[in-house]
Symmetry: D3
Subunit: 293 residues, 6 copies
Amino acid sequence: MPDNTSDCVRHVNGRAPMHLNYHRKYCGKIQAVIFDMTGTLVDFGAKANGQALQQLFNQYQIQLPPDTLLAVADLPDLAQLKYLFAIESIKDQWQQHQGSLPDEKQLEQLNIQLRTQQIVCASQQLSLPVDSKTVFQFIRKQGYKVGVCTHYCRDIASDLIPQLAEEGIKIDHWVSAADVSQPRPAPHLALTCAVALDILSVSACVKVDDSLKGIEEGLNAGMWTIGTAISGEYNNRSINEWNQLSNTERDKIRSEATLSLYRAGAHYVVDTISDIQSCLEDIEARLKRGERP
Amino acid sequence: MPDNTSDCVRHVNGRAPMHLNYHRKYCGKIQAVIFDMTGTLVDFGAKANGQALQQLFNQYQIQLPPDTLLAVADLPDLAQLKYLFAIESIKDQWQQHQGSLPDEKQLEQLNIQLRTQQIVCASQQLSLPVDSKTVFQFIRKQGYKVGVCTHYCRDIASDLIPQLAEEGIKIDHWVSAADVSQPRPAPHLALTCAVALDILSVSACVKVDDSLKGIEEGLNAGMWTIGTAISGEYNNRSINEWNQLSNTERDKIRSEATLSLYRAGAHYVVDTISDIQSCLEDIEARLKRGERP
Amino acid sequence: MPDNTSDCVRHVNGRAPMHLNYHRKYCGKIQAVIFDMTGTLVDFGAKANGQALQQLFNQYQIQLPPDTLLAVADLPDLAQLKYLFAIESIKDQWQQHQGSLPDEKQLEQLNIQLRTQQIVCASQQLSLPVDSKTVFQFIRKQGYKVGVCTHYCRDIASDLIPQLAEEGIKIDHWVSAADVSQPRPAPHLALTCAVALDILSVSACVKVDDSLKGIEEGLNAGMWTIGTAISGEYNNRSINEWNQLSNTERDKIRSEATLSLYRAGAHYVVDTISDIQSCLEDIEARLKRGERP
Amino acid sequence: MPDNTSDCVRHVNGRAPMHLNYHRKYCGKIQAVIFDMTGTLVDFGAKANGQALQQLFNQYQIQLPPDTLLAVADLPDLAQLKYLFAIESIKDQWQQHQGSLPDEKQLEQLNIQLRTQQIVCASQQLSLPVDSKTVFQFIRKQGYKVGVCTHYCRDIASDLIPQLAEEGIKIDHWVSAADVSQPRPAPHLALTCAVALDILSVSACVKVDDSLKGIEEGLNAGMWTIGTAISGEYNNRSINEWNQLSNTERDKIRSEATLSLYRAGAHYVVDTISDIQSCLEDIEARLKRGERP
Amino acid sequence: MPDNTSDCVRHVNGRAPMHLNYHRKYCGKIQAVIFDMTGTLVDFGAKANGQALQQLFNQYQIQLPPDTLLAVADLPDLAQLKYLFAIESIKDQWQQHQGSLPDEKQLEQLNIQLRTQQIVCASQQLSLPVDSKTVFQFIRKQGYKVGVCTHYCRDIASDLIPQLAEEGIKIDHWVSAADVSQPRPAPHLALTCAVALDILSVSACVKVDDSLKGIEEGLNAGMWTIGTAISGEYNNRSINEWNQLSNTERDKIRSEATLSLYRAGAHYVVDTISDIQSCLEDIEARLKRGERP
Amino acid sequence: MPDNTSDCVRHVNGRAPMHLNYHRKYCGKIQAVIFDMTGTLVDFGAKANGQALQQLFNQYQIQLPPDTLLAVADLPDLAQLKYLFAIESIKDQWQQHQGSLPDEKQLEQLNIQLRTQQIVCASQQLSLPVDSKTVFQFIRKQGYKVGVCTHYCRDIASDLIPQLAEEGIKIDHWVSAADVSQPRPAPHLALTCAVALDILSVSACVKVDDSLKGIEEGLNAGMWTIGTAISGEYNNRSINEWNQLSNTERDKIRSEATLSLYRAGAHYVVDTISDIQSCLEDIEARLKRGERP
C-alpha cells in the first residue's frame, strides 16, 4: 500500500526530523473590547482616586505630595494606605498630628472611610464628557463583548456599572483589582476578564487604556491595545482644565502622551474613547490579513 | 524652544497621522510549562475515564460504544452522564434494563458512583511509564513554574497531585475543568492556570498536551504548544498494548498522530513528555530571537 | 511599592537579559524626492557630456571610443580628462597629433574648454521632452521637497537650475559631484542632499535615477528608488532617435533596461519621470503599512 | 530568436505589470561606529555643560532651574543662552540683578565666557572612568571607522579630540552641532559624519548614544543604535555620586533608563561603552542573516 | 578608473563575503488553474470509482468494506485491484466464491471489466450540479490556462474531456495518474501538467482539489491551493444525498471537511468550484503584493 | 454536545469567514541537486558548442560573429542552425560561397555534421578541471539525488554521462533541451528532471548553473539556486586562458559575473562546483528554520 503519509511525515523525538511545519493563526473577528475604567471610560482626568485620598488625609491635617497619588493609582485600596504610611514624610506628619501610626484595625477603619470618599468622588467624575454613544452602538452592532478592568474595589464598581448602563454603556463583565493577585502590568486583570467573557482567542481581544501599565497589561495578555492620550492619567486634568489650555499647551501634552503610549507598545493612540472606531476597523482588517497583536 | 518631539510625532485621531510606529515583543525566558494531565502527565493510554464509565454502565448491563468514550473526554463528569443519556441507543438500553431514565437526583447518585470508579481507574493509571525525572529536574533548574489543567473533578485531582509529587513531579498550580465555564479548545483552563502561576506574559508559557483540543487551547491562549503523539488520546493504548505492536504498526500510529497534532498547529510533536527538553530549549532560543508562539 | 517596571525589564550588559524588545519604524509621509539630473530630469539620451568630450577631442583630431564615454559618466570633469589620458589608444593618438601629453597646467586648460563645451551641449539637451508639469504639480501639492544630485560641475548646474525653474521644475536644493569625496554608488550625494533638505528620516526620501549606480546610491542611502528605463544612460538615444525605432526595437530596449534596473534593486521602474506619480502614491501606502525601502 | 527576457519582464508605466520583483539588502560588515560625545564617550554624568552654564549665571547671582539645564542640552551654545533668556523667571532675576537684558553684542560676550567655562568643565569630565581600551582595540581590529557627533562648539571639540587620542580613543572624524542646521532627533549630525567617514551604506553604521534624542537621530539616519543607560543624561550623576548609591537605587535607575532607551527604539541598551562589544558582534551576525536596523 | 562595483561586491567561495543580497519574487498574474477531476470538477460525491469497484466485485458475490474504497482512490486502476486482493477478508471471500485467487492474466481481464464499469459510472456522475459556467467564463476572461489531473486511466479521461467541453469547461491539458511514477501527495501530476501548460513559474499556478492528498500535491509543487469541502471525497455524498441532510448535519460536515483541508495547508477552502472566483482574485492581489504560496 | 469545532471554524464561500488560518512549510532535507551541464559540470569555458558551430561553418568559408554563438547557446541544435540562417550577414556569406540557402533536407544534413562536431568538441572539454570528487562524495553521503539538465541533444548527452560516471560523477537522471517545449528561463527542464527524480517538494531541490537563464529556470521552478561565476558562460574562457590572466583581470571578471548572477536572484554564487558544499549546508540550515527558496 502506497502510504505516502508515512513517507512524508516523521515525528521529532531525536530520531528523525519532521519534513513539514504547520503554523496556525487566528484570523477571525474581534470578540471583546476590554476597557480600563478610570481615565478611559469614566473620570476624564483620572482624578477621583487622588481626590478621595487627598480629602481623607486632609481630615487629618495631612497634605499628600502629588506624585504619590499617581504612584498608588494601580493598587487596591488597602494597599494604597499601607503604601502611603510607608513614606517617611507622611509618617512624620501623621505622628505629629495624630500620635502613633494606625494599627491594622485602624487601617481597616480608614479604608472604610476612604471607600465612602471614593464613591463620592467617582460619582462626581462618572461621565467622560465625550461622545461614547456612537462607538458603543458600533461595538454592539459588531457583536463585540464589552469588559471592564477597574482598580476600584468591588463595592464602588458595583455602584458605577448600572449608572454607566443608563448612559448606554452596557458592560458584559467587569473585574476588580481586588480579584487578582498581581497589579498591572501583569496580565491578570485582562486575562481574567477575557475568560469570563468566553472569548475564543486572546488575539481576538482589544484592551483600551489611558495608562502605560494598562497598555503593557494588554500586550502581556497577547491582546491588541489602544491608548487614550487626552483622557486619563498622563493629562491628569479635568475636562474644564483641559478646555482652558491654549492650543500650544494641548499640542505639547498630546504629543508627549501619544509618544509615551506608542513607546510602551500601544498599537494605536487616540484622544479619547470616542475615537476608537477606526482603530477597531483597522484591527479587523489586520486580523483578516493574518496579522497578530 | 526647538521642540522636535512635537515635530516628529502626531496623535492619530483623524486629524494628523503618526510618523512613527513602535512594536513591542516579549523576548525573555519561558516562565511556565502547563501540562494536560490524562494522557500527557499520567495515564499513558488516556484510558482511565473511559474505563470508569464503561465499568459503571456495565453494572447496569449497558455497553458503551468506543467512540462515545472519546467524545465525552473533554467534559466535566456530570456533563458526561448527561451527554450519554442523550444518545438514543443508550437511552434504549437503559429503559430496557432499568425502566425509566434517571432523573436529576439519580444522575447525581450515578455521578457519585462514577467518581468512585474514576479514582480507582485513575490511580491504576497514575504512572506514565517513561523517564520524567530528567525533564522535571531540567524544568526546576530553569526556574519554570509547573501548571496542570485536568478534566478530572477537583476531588480526584486533589488525590492525584500528592502522588505525583512523590514521584518528583511537583505541581505549582492545577485547574480542573469544573473551575471554568467552557471546555477546550476554549483557552479558559490554560489562561486561568497561567494567571494563578503569576506569569508575566502569555508568550512565556508552554502548553503540553496529547489531544488536538488541548493544543488548540494552548494556541488560543497565545502560548507555545508541544503535542505528545504516543502517550495519550490518539494512540489510546496502554504501555503494554503499545509494546506488543510491531514496528510497522507503531510507525503508522506515530506518523498519523504526529501529523494530526502538527496540523492542529502544535509547534512541536514528540513521543512523550520525556522528550520535551530539546523543545523547551528551542523555544528559549526562538523567544530570544524575538519569535512569538 | 510594587515596582513592576523593575521586574519586567533588565539591562543587557552581560548580567541579565532584557524581557522586552521594541522596534521603531518610520510610517509617515514622503518628505523629499531627489532626482538625478542628466538622463532623468534633463537630457533624454544622457548624451550631453559625451558630446562635449567628443567635440573637444575632435578639435585635436582624436576619436573617442563610445564605451569610454559611458565609463567616465560618473566622474567630475577633471577626473574625466585624466581617465581618458590613461588609456593607451588615446595617449597614442594624442602624442601622434599633438606631441607630448598634456601636463597639469594644460589639463586645467583643456578642462576649461571642456566646461564651455558642456554648457553648450547641456543647454541644447535641457528639455526632457515628456510631460513633467503634472508630476511636479503633484509633488508640490503633496508638500514633498525636491532635490537634485548632478555630475555636472557647480558652474554648469548653477546655469541650468534657473532654466528648469522657468519650466516649472523648482529645485529646493542641488548637490554636485564636485561637493563630495566619493562618486556613486556611494551614498554621499544623496545623503548630503537629504541633510540640506532637512528631511527627518532617510526612509522618507525617494531617489529617482536613470543609471544603475544612481539606484545603488539611493539604496545605500536607505531610500526608496525609482529607475527610468527609456530616458537615460541605458537607452542613450535622443528623443528623435528613439521615435524612429520600431515597436520591436523599443520593446527590446525597454525590457532590457527595466530588468537591469530592477535587478540592481530599484523599487520601481518606469519609462520617464512623467510616470512616477503612481509610484510615489504606492510608496506612501507602503510607508503607512510600516514597510521600509 | 527566442527572446525569453522580453517574455518574462515588462516595464511598469501603466501599460503592463512587471512579473518579477527584486529586493536588495546590505549584508556586509559594520563599517563605522559613531559615538555621541558627552555622556557616552566622555563626561560620565553628562554634567559639564550644565555646570558651565550654572557657573556662568552664578557670577550674575542667578540660579538656573535644573530641568532647564537638560532642556538646552541639544542646542549649540549661543542658542542655549537665547533659550534661557526667553524664560520668565530667568529674565526677572537678570533684570533684578543686572538691569536691562543683554543685547546681541552682550550675548556674544556671554557666549565667549560660556565657552571658556565649558572648556574648563569639559576637561574636568574628560575621562569616562570605565574600561574603553578593550572595546576600542576590538573596533580597530575589526577595521570599523570611528566617528563622533558632539554638541560642543568646534573650539572645544578640537581641544578634546587629541586628549582622547592619548587615552587610546582615536577618532577618524567628528562633527559639531554647529555644523548642521537641525539638532537631534533630526539625522543631520549622524549622516554628515557617515558621509565624511566614506561609509558605503547607512545600514553599515552603528550610533552609540546616552540620550533618547541621540537614539532617534541614529534611527532616522537608518542606522543601528546602542543606548548607554548608566553613563549619560538619564542618570546625570558623576561616577562618584553613582558609586555611593545603594544597589536598590542603582537598579531602579538602570531599569528606568534602560526601558526609556528601548522604548525610543534603541536596538541594544548597555550600562556604558565598555559593554558594547557583544552588541557589535550581534549586529554583525544579524547583518549577515540579512536583517536591517 | 573608480570601479566601485568591484569595491562593493565580493564572491562567496570561502575567501571574501558578499556585501549585498538580492531576493527575486514572482509578482505577476496567475497563469494556470489545475483541477482535480473526481469530486472537484465532476462527480459531486467522488463516488464513481467506488461504485465501479463495488459493482465489479458484486458480480463475484463480494462485498467491499467502504473504507477500502477510499483507501484505493489515489491509485491507478490495476494497482487498485492488487491492493484489494492483498486484503485478507477479500481474499477469503474470493477464494470461497471463485476458488483460487486471480493470476496476472486474470487480473488484466478484471481490470478491463473495471474500466468498462468506470466509464459507465463516471458518465453518470459527469455533471457537478453547481454553476461552473460563471467561474469558467471568469477564468477564460483572465486568460488563465486550465489543466486537469485525474486518477482515471487515459481511456476514461479521453472520453470525459470532450463531454466537459460541451458543458463549457474547456481543458487545455490533462494528465492521468497512469502518466507518472508516484501518486499524490507527490507533486508529479501537478508539475507534469504545469510544464505541459507552459507556465512560467510554479508560483503562478493554482491547484483546486477536494482531497487532502491533492492539496498536499499542490503545496509540494510550490503552488497555491484551494480545497472544496462539500463536493468530493470527505462528504462522499451525491448531490441528492446532500440535499436531504438537515442544516445541522450539513454544518457539521462542512466544518469538519473545511478544518481538515485547512489543516492540510489549503490556502482557501470553499464549498464547490462555483465559489473559487473570489479566491482567485485574492491570490492575484497577494501575488501583486509579493506574497508566495 | 459541545461541538467546539463547529464553533471555531467556518467555511469561506461568501457566507461566513474562517476563524483560523494554517500555513504549511517544507522543512525537511535537500532531496536533489540538479546541475546544468555545459559550463557548470563539464566544459570550464562553456565553449564546446560555439567551437563546434564555428568549425562547421568554417568548412563553408563562413566566419560566425562571437556574440551570435552566445545567443544560440540555449537552443536545441536544429533551432541553432535556423537561427543562424536568419541572420543577414550569414545568409549573405553563405549565398556568396555556396549559392542558394540550404533547404530543410540540407539543414538536417548540416545538423548531423554539427552533432558529430559537437561530440568531438564536447569530449575535448569534458573535464571541469577542479576538484569535484569531494563535493560529489558529500552529495552521496547526504543521500541527495543528482540530476542534470543539458542543452546537448540526447545522443551527445548519452555519450557523456558514462564518461562522467567514470570520474565519480554519478547522475541519477538527465533531461535534454530536446525533451521539452520551452527553453530556459522557463522551468520546464528543471521540473521535468525533478519529477523524474521523484522528489517530494520543489523546495527540496537545488539548481546549480553558470548562466543567468539557468538561475531563472531554477527560481521559476521554486528551487534554491547556486551560480558558478568562474566556470561557464560569463567568463567564457578555458581553464588555460583563465590561468594566464592577472589577478586584477580575474577580480574584475569574478566581481561582474558574481554581481550578475546575484542580481538574477541566485541564492549563492561561487567560483565553481567545487565550492558548493558550504552552500548546501547553509540551505539545510535554512530549510530547518522554515525558510523557503
